[in-house]
Symmetry: C2
Subunit: 572 residues, 2 copies
Amino acid sequence: MRLSKLVGERLKDASSGTNVKSHNYLLRAGYLKQVCNGIFTMLTPAQLINLKIQNIIRQEMNALGGQEVLFPVVMPREMWEKSGRYNSIGQEMVRFKDRNDHDMLLGMTHEEAAVHLCQNTIKSYDQLPFMIYQIQTKFRDEARPRAGLIRVKEFTMKDAYSFHTDKKELQNFYQKVYDAYNRIFKRIGMKKFIAVKSDTGMMGGDIAHEFMLLTDIGEDSIVICPHCDYKANMEVAVSTEDTISFEDSSIKEVYTSNAKSIEEVCNYLKIKPQQTIKAVCYAIVGDDKNTVIVFIRGDKEVNEAKLKRIVGKEIAVKDLSETGLVKGNIGCLNLQVKDCQILFDKSLENTCGMVTGANKEEYHISGINLKRDIPDAKYYDLAKVKEGEKCPICGKPLTIERGIEIGNIFQLGTKYTKSMEMTITMPDGKPINPLMACYGIGVGRALASVAEESSDAKGLVWPISIAPWQVYFCPLRLDDENVKTQAEKLEKSLAKEFELLYDDRNLSAGIKLTDSELMGIPFRVVISPRSLQNEEAEITIRKSGEKIMVKLCELNNTLHDLINKEMEELNG
Amino acid sequence: MRLSKLVGERLKDASSGTNVKSHNYLLRAGYLKQVCNGIFTMLTPAQLINLKIQNIIRQEMNALGGQEVLFPVVMPREMWEKSGRYNSIGQEMVRFKDRNDHDMLLGMTHEEAAVHLCQNTIKSYDQLPFMIYQIQTKFRDEARPRAGLIRVKEFTMKDAYSFHTDKKELQNFYQKVYDAYNRIFKRIGMKKFIAVKSDTGMMGGDIAHEFMLLTDIGEDSIVICPHCDYKANMEVAVSTEDTISFEDSSIKEVYTSNAKSIEEVCNYLKIKPQQTIKAVCYAIVGDDKNTVIVFIRGDKEVNEAKLKRIVGKEIAVKDLSETGLVKGNIGCLNLQVKDCQILFDKSLENTCGMVTGANKEEYHISGINLKRDIPDAKYYDLAKVKEGEKCPICGKPLTIERGIEIGNIFQLGTKYTKSMEMTITMPDGKPINPLMACYGIGVGRALASVAEESSDAKGLVWPISIAPWQVYFCPLRLDDENVKTQAEKLEKSLAKEFELLYDDRNLSAGIKLTDSELMGIPFRVVISPRSLQNEEAEITIRKSGEKIMVKLCELNNTLHDLINKEMEELNG
């Protein structure tokens, strides 16, 4: 490929609003162009990376006996009504009517399509286990697309579905895919990634893991025990902090003026947040009548993923003033509210001397003894884990890191085979609903995650396994007759053996070298009037910045060695 | 791959309603499963073929310097409003509102996206010519999906867009892609295909060609001159038939009772259809007021694609009785109708002695002399060419064949760059709208077309270049210990060197051999207790049915030779 003809500009400054490194560099280096919010065109360098990532994924899926199929993007409502998800999934799923007024949708995932395919096709236990997978465009109408390719509306995804006769077989296979995922991320050049326990969310099932790339720009919080093997997404991390009790006393109404927030109440009463009970109010999405109030210790935050699992429905923070509640003074004693589910966080269990709202303006109540005053309170693990809390496994202090979800795997069990009525016949002749697991990797997000982790101050730094080109050939002073002649010769010889991007532009060394760094091609070969005097070329390793002068006759061999070395590091 | 684990059934009878061979076999052999009307899941054998077809296309596009990109499936209204197609394309384009109430659409083609990408990215004449392409899912809400993968709603398509500074350069490049398309279809194993001139339709531009696979199940009619090089889609084929005149006489109102159709009028008056003038009435789609009436010789049919181009709008046959016209008696003399465009086919020009409707019940008018009686008539080429008409190039008789459109290429000119305001700077510093061409191939339709052309009475017959597997290994009597041991050995040795489908089922020879033929794998290797006595295997060439006995030690070499021979035939 000649750079002069490559569609895409190299820009000095990215357009505004791109404060994420990978997004910034991918725009500046001519990999991406935004079509509209959360929707991008991938230019050739990005698409070449996509194809390489897809091939690595394909190899690992095929190695597990995976069968590549292709499900449709557009599916009919009926299929998703059977599974119950036509109604349970919110606005992120696009629904439309076709020309014959049939309800259709754009697939965000394909459990329904997988069951539809295997239903009546797979009939007997001895056809299991097997895994089908596809690499296909998905659309998810994200409320807040962000960070370039990290969170988009349209994306290419590999999604796989395995089918099993029993739980043990499912777990064995799940472990194999878990291992394959580790290999995939390593092979595409990710370094700091881990697998953590995760929420099953809209997918359903019991057990799920997310693969996380640890990075400050991640939107997920991950709870990690540096002392044992415990790793969990914040959404499922178990809070095991001890409760704190204060001096037991009798209930007393105390004047708190216009103090409303925990901070204001604490300042007014000269107490610590740990002594207060915070009320957080929620609406149930799609239900105008029922509400939820969580009481939690003042220094803690509600983990809404946990709450959602307990409530069993989508929830959203809501001001409940219109129901007669006094905002900022809601308390758990003598609370009068209709059609409301009231939950307590474990952090309050058996505590004494606590302060809660008085359910009227300007007053709180002190001296609450939960056991004594609210004997029928129901306690749940509802709090977000905080840095330094005890590990639920080994008891040592936990740390919290940020991460990007780069893959996820779910033990779905019979959720879909049951609802869609897929059965297979077992050796004893009886029908069962087979068990399923599913496994996803977003191709574009993988690309962006590598860009995020591997880039440096000069630009992108692609791992050799997924680089759009292996070699950036950069002759300087193309106006020099000798350079030009040699460059044309070398282009031919390099293009025969390597994936080559040839910077054929007659521009300054500054621009050309800066562009090569921005674009992140692993090996740069420079020739100049000076290097040619010694019949030499200069190879620069993008990753380390190391420079090597080689004789022209040794150029290809040296490049092969360098490429092989980097490939071995990734695959080894 | 082991057949026992392959998802997909082999069926004796296809489900009802599949009267097209490719559709029938693809369903029966486990390649496809219908999700809903016009939407399919591709099973592994079909997806393997898809990937091979895509790779052949990719190689040929890359050989022309094509740059692979990826445009989004979902695009915003604004982009398509600029080109004018948001409104001009009908119901076949899916439109929906996203969660923020923005109008979005599903791409059926990507001219707008291509211009959006290149606009402001490509600035100067010296960056041209170039071609970008993608292989991406498309959705087209077909009114009448048919014949399995031949006409579907959702499909994978390669679409390419080239940009040029002038017409000559565009034509040169267009020719190169034309040649590449011929290579692609040959390489994927098509035999009877031709390129024909075609209508530009909703794409716009001047010149277009379709690549057509000639087959009786094709929905297009192709006009071919067996004597010279003239080939055209019926939609654009020029009718050059001589006009026929009858004895000149004066106008006379004649009683025709309730004769309405051309046939009835001819029977009643004892004349030939050639002496009648037929009226065909049309509504303009999306326009309640204006209508169109075409007068054409009674033995001819209106070519609606030609009519549409002349009218410049979508048209649809309509009964105009409600406007006061007398159905079956509409005539071109003294026709009183408002807001109606009246067109005459060339076949009527200067004819005499013709019969037309009297614009009242039970009467026609005879003795029409067009020149004399309707001096201001406007004549156009509006008729469908009929078998045996004169070739517009050499004058010899034309033939008409049926074909499936397997690819299309368009010289778009500046239609999109002008409407979307893309400019590049020329050497003289002046801006111009670059010229464009676009080039499409549907991957799934190519698969189905090959299936249609290459299948025989036993099932599918895949060309080696796109076969899902090269070799179908089919040991008979797997209950025999010796067969089983040898089969396992051979499976390993074959799988190392070939794409292998291993029929590991312990079923009757009848079922296994029939399945291998139905699935269409190019080479079948059979071992049986008997063949093993001589340390032999039987190779069957699917295409010819030819059988070859080979020593086991020669098996791999013989297969390599056979495969290479077939590959050479396709690529040579």
